[in-house]
């Protein structure tokens, strides 16, 4: 195992603790449970599919997974600083960009682990209830966009401030859920809306499409945008590791 893999391994083990993973998976599995519960009643496939998409986007991708990603991303380097273990990571003959890339991969990976379980459970519940086993393609790509977007941008913020998680939640609930929803021109600044644009492209006709604002549906566009966000975050994290205090 080389140095970069060692950092990814230890960061993942720190982020994915048993208690944490159980809590986050339960939190993120709410949409699957809703569909499972609804499927026991007398509803048609179309209504169950709508319910699945509404809860998947409205709860999983708009709230649960971003919260999971913010917690993981702010902890990836922020916990090293907060818990005073930074010397064991930073005082090593490793280029700062390599630390930045490795911890960011761990942050995104930890969120994807939760996303895989949550989307997988939803897929099983919705697929068996509607007979449409391709129903989870949009959610899967949307979850990937969320994990990369939130999972990268909050890594440097976690390094720079102890209040990164609070800042992340304010961004999520104030900016994304309020302003970007209310003002169409602000939608492109919202990671949630970018994820929705990918989701809608793969699941056309869902009611959430009305909240896209100025964004056009498009998987390619969404992935390009989060790739840019990830790149900017990596540069910012590397800069912070080089220029800012690490204790």
């Amino acid at each position: 195992m080389n140095a970069r893999l060692a950092i990814i391994n230890v960061t993942l083990r720190r982020l994915i603790t048993r208690k944490r993973i159980v809590g986050l998976v339960l939190f993120a599995s709410v949409p699957a449970l809703v569909v499972l519960f609804a499927s026991t009643g007398d509803r048609g496939s179309a209504r169950l599919a709508d319910l699945y998409h509404d809860t998947t986007f409205g709860i999983l991708l708009a709230v649960a997974l971003p919260v999971v990603a913010i917690v993981n991303a702010t902890g990836a380097l922020g916990d090293e600083r907060r818990l005073h273990t930074m010397p064991f990571l930073a005082l090593k003959p490793i280029p700062r960009w390599a630390i930045s890339v490795s911890t960011t991969i761990a942050s995104v990976g930890a969120t994807l682990a939760v996303a895989v379980v949550a989307v997988g459970l939803g897929w099983l519940a919705a697929g068996s209830a509607t007979g449409d086993w391709g129903i989870a393609t949009g959610p899967a790509v949307g979850a990937l966009v969320v994990a990369i977007g939130y999972g990268t941008i909050f890594v440097p913020i976690g390094l720079l401030t102890r209040r990164a998680t609070v800042i992340g939640l304010i961004y999520l609930f104030l900016w994304e859920a309020s302003f970007a929803n209310a003002v169409a021109a602000l939608a492109p600044t919202s990671l949630g809306h970018i994820a929705l644009s990918a989701y809608v492209d793969l699941a056309p006709g869902i009611s959430a499409a009305e909240t896209l604002g100025n964004l056009e549906p498009g998987v390619g566009n969404a992935l390009t945008k989060v790739a840019v966000v990830a790149l900017v975050s990596l540069v910012f994290t590397t800069w912070a590791l080089r220029r800012r205090d690490l204790a």
Partner: protein, 311 residues
């Protein structure tokens, strides 16, 4: 104050200051460190930890420069292959076993055989038997040793230790002290901070004393002790006839002054050792029963403050 500690310096601080908002933690420190053990001595809050963090590149100096092997560690991380820090903080990756923790550090040092290097480092600090136990269950002293093992795993040329003996028992303390002094003898640069004089005395060839973020004194341990011998100390003596004992003591030239209370004396003495030697004889001759003798201001803080004021 400028301190030059070695013929061939590995670590050089040039006019280093560090402040946090309005608080000056370290002020204009110029010092050089080379082969051997150098003790960084000072009371809690003197700025030792901040200085060591600046020295290792963990935090930036507000002013001045730090070079390790001629390079600024913050701009050239490759230098971390030659240095190591044992931080004061107790925290380690509790979810890892001692072996995993040290092996992880060996991997980050890019050692060719990290598992073997970790095994040797754990053996050095006497943790082989508990190598597979999770660090979360370790005592403070065991964690200290695990951190030392992690620092030693790549056999650094410069070892920086921040209060490394905290939480260790006497046996562990003696063992760690021997490791550090051996490293110094091998020609490595060992910088060890402590607020306990006798701890540093056992390890260090040279001492730098810090108070309020400034260098207060430097030199060999005996030289520092001599400097401290001029400091008047206040000693409290509880006895049944304080006036009688005071009358006998006040004639001595090493007594600077005496305050007499109902059952005790507060003696200002320039030579505490002589006072200690004289008291039993005087008590016997005067038939005075002494129940307690305590230094009242022998803390490092008061000693160092005296040194700073005296400069």
């Amino acid at each position: 104050m400028t301190v030059v500690n070695a013929d061939s310096s590995t670590v050089v601080l040039q006019g280093v200051s560090r402040w946090f908002g309005q608080k000056v933690a370290v002020s204009e420190i110029t010092a050089e460190f080379g082969a051997g053990v150098t003790g960084l001595l000072g009371p809690n809050g003197a700025g030792k930890t901040t200085l060591l963090r600046v020295l290792t590149g963990l935090i930036r100096p507000s002013e001045g420069t730090v070079t390790v092997f001629g390079t600024d560690p913050r701009s050239d991380p490759s230098v971390y292959g030659r240095i190591a820090l044992v931080p004061e903080d107790e925290n380690v990756y509790g979810f890892l076993s001692a072996a995993e923790f040290v092996t992880h550090n060996a991997r980050l040092q890019k050692l060719p055989n990290p598992i073997e290097a970790a095994r040797q480092a754990l053996e050095t600090v006497d943790l082989s038997e508990v190598a597979d136990r999770k660090l979360v269950g370790f005592s403070k002293g065991m964690r200290q040793r695990a951190k030392v093992a992690a620092a030693l795993v790549h056999q650094p040329e410069v070892l920086v230790l921040d209060e490394p003996l905290n939480g260790t028992d006497p046996v562990q303390r003696a063992h760690l002290t021997r490791i550090f002094t051996d490293m110094g003898r091998q020609g490595r640069t060992v910088i060890v901070s402590s607020h306990v004089l006798h701890e540093v005395e056992r390890m260090a060839d040279r001492v730098i004393a810090m108070v309020d973020g400034r260098l207060a004194a430097s030199g060999t341990v005996p030289a520092l002790r001599t400097a401290m011998s001029d400091i008047p100390l206040q000693i409290r003596v509880d006895c049944d006839q304080p006036r009688r004992l005071a009358a006998a003591l006040v004639e001595r030239d090493w007594v600077g002054g005496i305050n007499v209370e109902a059952t005790s004396l507060h003696i200002r003495s320039l030579d505490a050792e002589q006072l200690g030697r004289a008291l039993p004889g005087l008590a016997k001759a005067l038939d005075v029963r002494i129940t307690r003798v305590d230094p009242e201001d022998e803390s490092l803080e008061s000693v160092f403050r005296y040194l700073v004021e005296d400069r």
